[in-house]
Amino acid sequence: MQATETHVTPAEKFANVCAILEKHGRHPAKLIPILQAVQEEYGYLPEEVLTFVAVALDVPAARVFGVATFYAHFALEPRGKYVVRLCNGTACHVKKSIPILDALYRKLGISEKKPKHELITIEIVACLGACGLAPVMVINEDVYGQMTPDRAVKLIDEILEKEAALV
């Protein structure tokens, strides 16, 4: 392990979770900020850590799971290096966001039921607040408006090429 790389060990991560819980006084009402902080720590919300949070807050695990799955910004699976968020709010839906989704799925060989791709995570979100640009797609922090299935696939191709060049 190089000293320059900031590598957080599982033990340190766990210690941080404990600190997060302390900071919020282990208060069940603080569940959402706690989950946000935990997600920052792990990049997603691992099942066993959610169970620990449930224990520490004395809240049923089903409730913690419910909150973690309700908000679109929580992820229960590790996400890929690229997170593609496609808006399916009313405006984007009307402007045909679903065909874009289908194209993305087809391109990556995944589906709603089997959404796992190691590099790219597709997420459908309710409204990104950019309805004027509908349909909207966001790749990590970059916003792309007036998306079409073809353009979306092209963006994916670019990512895949870039990554292939890295190895």
Binding site: P10, A11, P46, E48, T51, F52, V55, A61, A62, F70
Partner: protein, 690 residues
């Protein structure tokens, strides 16, 4: 009646209706005799306001949900305008479009609210295309079947489980068209903290949650000529069974019930109230001993398997206060499997015991491993009152026309005290009828102890018997049990006996009973049980001569060796979730020592986290990364002895940081020297070297 002032009225469809403390418009409208459709309203639960069926039009305010609007004097409301009718229909049609509509084969078909409301509203076709995304049905639990394809997301189950039972086993998850109600992480019901009370199946308006059925297994036994099949019927069944046959709730149907069981082909029909009388001997005696010694008080009752599992999961440190008596069902099973082969000359392997219970948790109880010996269960099958009614109908038996028959002897003989077990407060009253005579040595003047009767889910009574003061608590609904258990935990509770039933108002309100839309049903069944007691010739368990005989000829002393073996049991702390743990520290050595530190609720509260941090620190400082794996785990089911740490093969109870670090060191040494022997043994080519 005094005339109400004019301004206290709400005008419902133009007709005045006086406000009399109703909490919301819906109650007022229903009082006025209008049955507005609802999915998500239950008077015992909080208001959720999601189904949008209870809509009304308030003059000047527009359309609102009546369940969440308090009545105000002078309001003018309409309950079925054209617009409201349309909204309601659309709501129901949307549900139907997202529903597995195979009604004829659905368990809930006869009392499905979705069906009823669709018909009531005159929904004749669904204008939306089906969007049902079929999900697997969860049949893992012995008590409750969950079919997500029939859920209408009313949340009734979620609220009953958290508000009445304080379990919270199921909850809403996901959103949009993925929204569902399910256990944490989508796990199976059998794996989680669900206590099998089945109350969620009572409130669920559709077939999404229903009691797990065991009718087929029972039919198979009944139709197998080689088997000798015995029915044991719980007290509460007799006052509920009439309802599916259009009788009033609370009608005492004992005679017809026995007759129908005989017609179904049961070889003997016994009364579980007999076993309840037997329980009183054992439990009453146990109580008197504890009271005399002043130990293990309060004595918690143990006849409700929902409560027992709850206590095992949430109150491990109180388990020694639970009566060690098996429930009447399990006492009966054990006794009959032991006695009947002799008494009736039936080979034990041909004997089948079928319980008929008002309860879904009894199904789970019968399957607990401690009640199964060499693959043979003490109780082979458990069917509910609902299932018995269905079997009677399936056999074409005209229940209402049956000539009453009586239970078989001797195990069909019971006193009124045994029958009382069907009511909340019944076990307590039966114990009092027993204990009072034992304390005073004199026969009771009156056998009724009305102080312990009532409807509230948490009642107390104090009484004095011959200078001995007894403080009692009668609890139903696990939320109320939690209240008392917390007091006991804090040491602020002075009760002697705490009776706990998981279901509101006790077994008569069990989830195996027919689902009634009559708001008075439970009250009427309760009365039915008290009436049945009055009608019995004997009222005190100690007067049950067949039980006395059973002790004389067979069981020996009350609480004696044989009795203990057959009639008592033990409890163990139980984890709530199957989650394994969080890997915190691990490297690459091939022979790493596994260290698990419990961070389950109990150990967490007792300082598990400090121990974990201590061990991690030690492991890091001593550079053990290739020698140990450290995990945070969730509950080893040894909570009474917590905090618990497992290091290799060693389990440390009441662990401290120092103890844990020392054990880690010594286990590592052992492992190292062990590895050395193994290597040297191997290189010497000798397998027997040690």
């Amino acid at each position: 009646m005094t005339k109400k002032p004019v301004d206290n009225n709400v005008y419902i469809n133009g007709r005045p209706v006086a406000i009399e403390g109703e909490r919301n418009l819906l109650e007022l409208i229903r009082k006025a005799g209008i049955d507005l459709p609802t999915f998500c309203y239950h008077s015992d639960l909080s208001v959720y306001g999601a189904c949008r069926l209870c809509l009304v039009d308030i003059e000047g305010r527009g359309i609102v949900g009546s369940c969440s609007t308090p009545p105000e004097a002078g309001m003018r409301i309409k309950t079925h305008t054209e617009e409201i009718r349309e909204i309601r229909k659309v709501s129901v049609e949307l549900l139907l479009a997202n529903h597995d509509n195979n009604c004829p084969t659905c368990y809930k078909s006869h009392n499905c609210q979705l069906q009823r409301i669709a018909r009531q509203l005159g929904v004749e076709h669904v204008r939306f295309k089906s969007v049902l995304d079929r999900k697997p049905v969860d049949v893992s639990s012995p008590s409750v079947t969950r079919d997500p394809n029939k859920c209408v997301l009313c949340g009734d189950c979620v609220r009953v489980c958290s508000e009445i039972q304080e379990v919270g086993a199921i909850d809403f998850a996901y959103r949009g068209h993925q929204a569902s109600v399910l256990p944490a992480f989508g796990k199976d019901l059998a794996e989680i903290e669900c206590v099998n009370c089945g109350q969620c199946t009572v409130v669920c308006p559709t077939g999404a949650l229903s009691p797990k059925s065991e009718m087929e297994e029972v039919w198979k036994d009944l139709t197998n000529p080689d088997l000798f099949v015995v029915a044991c019927v719980a007290p509460a069944v007799r006052v509920g069974l009439g309802e599916p046959f259009d009788m009033e709730p609370g009608t005492i149907t004992t005679g017809q019930m026995v007759a129908s069981l005989k017609m179904l082909g049961f070889d003997q029909v016994y009364d579980t109230s007999f076993a309840a009388d037997l329980t009183i001997f054992e439990e009453g005696n146990e109580f008197l001993q504890r009271k005399t010694k002043g130990e293990k008080l309060p004595q918690f009752t143990s006849c409700c398997p929902g409560w027992v599992k709850y206590a095992e999961q949430y109150y491990p440190e109180l388990l020694d206060k639970l009566s060690t008596c098996k429930s009447p069902q399990q006492m009966f099973g054990a006794l009959l499997k032991d006695r009947l082969p002799d008494l009736l000359g039936v080979a034990k392997e041909k004997l089948r015991i079928v319980s008929v219970m008002p309860c879904t948790a009894k199904k789970y109880e019968a399957k607990r491993p401690e009640f199964i010996h060499d693959g043979v269960a003490d109780v082979d099958h458990v069917i509910t009152t609902q299932e018995l009614a269905r079997m009677i109908k399936a056999a074409g038996i005209l229940f209402n026309d049956l000539t009453p028959e009586s239970f078989d002897m001797p195990f069909g003989f019971a006193t009124g005290a045994g029958v009382l077990f069907g009511n909340s407060g019944g076990v307590t009253e039966a114990v009092l009828r027993f204990a009072a005579e034992k304390i005073t040595g004199k026969p009771l003047q009156s056998f009724e102890f009305k102080q312990v009767r009532g409807e509230s889910g948490l009642r107390e009574a104090v009484m004095e018997i011959d200078g001995v003061q007894l403080k009692l608590a009668v609890v139903s609904g696990l939320k109320n049990a939690k209240t008392v258990a917390e007091q006991v935990r804090k040491g602020t509770c002075e009760y002697d006996i705490v009776e706990v039933m998981a279901c509101p108002q006790g077994c008569i309100g069990g989830a195996g009973q027919p689902v009634s839309r009559n708001p008075l049903a439970k009250k009427m069944r309760t009365k039915g049980i008290y009436d049945a007691d009055k009608m019995m010739p004997l009222h005190k368990s100690q007067e049950n001569i067949f039980i006395t005989e059973c002790y004389e000829k067979f069981l020996g002393d009350i609480g004696g060796h044989k009795a203990h073996h057959l009639l008592h049991t033990h409890y163990q702390s139980r984890r709530r979730l199957p989650e394994e743990g969080i890997a915190l520290f691990s490297g690459h050595g091939d022979q790493r020592l596994h260290v698990d530190v419990c961070l389950g609720t109990n150990c967490f509260l007792k300082g598990g986290q400090t121990i974990l941090n201590g061990l991690l620190k030690h492991a890091e400082e001593s550079k053990l990364e290739n020698m140990v794996d450290v995990r945070a785990s969730f509950c080893f089911e040894q909570c009474e002895e917590g905090p618990t740490v497992k290091i290799g093969e060693v389990t440390l109870n009441h662990a401290t940081v120092d103890k844990a670090v020392d054990t880690l060191k010594s286990e590592l040494e052992k492992q190292l020297s062990g590895a050395a022997t193994a290597v040297s043994g191997c290189s010497a080519g000798c397998s027997s070297g040690k």
